[in-house]
Symmetry: C2
């Protein structure tokens, strides 16, 4: 029996960094996904292992389920319908299980944490049942596009789809449809996975990946937004790695040094995010309205980028993308932590219409 | 009899554009000057003309003083000790006197307005006396370095030095020293000149040029600052001309579209300007304190530049300078109206010490 699930990555349209200081942020799902396939062996397979194949990285793990059971002993928790946090002690046990496979090159902490999260979600939802899980992703790792959340969400979705906890409607052509209650469960489990991978995630990434479309986030409160017009964004990966924690800390230190100025900057970002959310949700009647929306979004992106530079999180590689797109009169801003990572460029509808004609 | 005067140009250290919306700005005089020489002919010269030589532009004007008297008729106002605004009607009369000389190429409005201001200041302070005035400047025109204010101030100083209104102390080596009262008179006359050239000047430029050092400006109120450590600034002229009025209007339009965000941005700039003023005035005990000051100023410059980008007044040419100086870990910001013009780069003291050693 096999089930496949996919979950999208995300971009931050507005409010990165400032969100940590109480400002509103807006995130959107993107058309790049992580795919998870889950297969239970038939009795004739005679396989008592839990396999995990991370195809993109050519990393392959397999644990005899008895080994996992033995390691977890009483720490295991088979309760698919009640998402539960993994204790620090259990994280250590699971991390040791990952490490003893000797598969991950040179202490790649993120991948190790991802596989640890996998073991937690798997054992919580399916106990010590043998299975084969294959993961493939279109999302680059650690570039701020929410690859870990897409991993956690697609994994939770696949695991829950074959559990008794999710009551899925089978539609035509073999698709399973997740209802509101099931999505909530997916999101909660994915958040538990994110916590293992990131420590203190905001919950933005897994929520966008679970529900798709866009969300507004402020001080822990998430609001799902319904966009009425598709927005075309070009995502440029600078391929410059960065230290998210150091960037976040840098903004906080600057805030300590210049509290009045920085509070005002965060207030400006908050207002920009709320404007972005309003524009996204406003009805678009025709092409003119769509163009107006895009013009407004472009201006707000330019303003947000200036404020991010004021926070000190831009980078030469980001500025290069900004200058290049500016030559074509296109507005861009960094997305995520900055200091490298990805840059968004709004591609106006008119651009495509002109090229088509 | 000849007198020579010089007056410095200026840079805006912090707060350009935002100052129009109520934020504090800080300006400093720079070591580039405009020089004015005023000579009264001896009786034997038999010259009844008022000569004006703008040496840098090789533009030469000469009016028979009778012609000026005739044109101004009752509009003239010989009152050196009471600075007076030039009415729109009188500006037109003086502008016609400038135009009939047929000297200025292709309606260069700024130069024309400068010569008009010269005629107003001259006739107010010296009536219809023949004289020769020679102007030379190290300041590039229209690049935001306050060339017109340096012209107005050096002109007012030279004119007042040979009038009865200024009571100047003659020091050694032929230098005349302007007292506080005389400087105030110079500043007021220069402001009248600026009004003819710019319409509605803020008064920042002529005040910095008159008193030197630095000033803080907020909502029409000027405070002179005493800097305790010299600050070394590299000024890079992008040589990109810009339309100051259009840039100022652009910021105002953006403020109408996004009032909450922009008010917060102006508040951030206000706070930055006040921090800059505090740092400038704080006593510097040693090299370490000087380095700390510079570090703080660099951070504030980076923040201010981000906020200017948020206002939409940066330019590709400015960004090129920013990127270039960033390679050497030097902080830069645009100064003045933006959209081209000049860029400031702080040159830390350490830089010179390292190069010396």
């Amino acid at each position: 029996m096999e089930v496949r699930a996919r979950a999208p990555g995300k971009i931050i349209l507005s409010g990165e960094h400032a969100v940590v200081h109480g400002s509103t942020a807006v995130a959107a799902s993107i058309d790049l996904h992580t795919y998870v396939s889950l297969t239970f062996p038939t009795n004739s397979d005679n396989d008592d292992k839990l396999w995990l194949h991370l195809d993109d990285m050519a990393l392959h793990f397999s644990w005899p389920v008895g080994r996992i059971k033995e390691a977890l002993s009483e720490k295991g928790s088979h309760a698919p319908s009640s998402p539960k946090s993994c204790s620090a002690e259990t994280i250590n046990i699971l991390a040791a299980l990952v490490e003893e496979q000797n598969v991950i090159p040179e202490a790649n902490i993120t991948i190790g944490a991802g596989v640890t999260a996998f073991l937690w979600l798997y054992t919580c939802i399916h106990g010590y049942k043998p299975a084969m899980v294959v993961v493939a992703s279109e999302l680059p790792l650690g570039s701020g596009l929410g690859s870990s959340a897409a991993f956690s969400v697609s994994l939770a979705a696949a695991l829950l789809a074959l559990s008794d906890s999710a009551n899925l409607d089978s539609t035509q052509q073999g698709w399973l449809s997740f209802g509101e209650k099931e999505l909530e469960l997916v999101n909660k489990w994915a958040f538990e996975g994110e916590k293992i991978i990131h420590g203190k995630p905001s919950g933005i990434d897994n929520t966008v990946s679970t529900y798709g479309n866009m969300i507004k986030f402020n001080s822990g409160e998430l609001t799902r937004l319904k966009s009425n017009t598709p927005i075309k964004m070009l995502i440029t990966n600078t391929n410059v790695g960065r230290n998210t924690k150091a960037l976040v800390a840098g903004v906080s230190e600057r805030t300590v040094r210049h509290p009045t100025a920085m509070e005002a900057v965060f207030k400006a970002v908050d207002s920009i995010s709320n404007e972005v959310a309003t524009i996204i949700q406003s009805p678009a009647h025709d092409d003119i309205a769509a163009t107006e929306k895009e013009d407004k979004l472009e201006e707000l992106m330019e303003m947000n980028q200036g404020l991010l530079q004021c926070m000190g999180v831009s980078h030469a590689s980001i500025e290069t993308v900004l200058r290049t797109t500016l030559k074509y009169k296109l507005a861009s801003k960094l997305t995520g932590a900055g200091g490298g990572g990805c840059v968004l460029t709004l591609l106006p509808t008119q651009l495509f219409q002109i090229r088509k004609s």
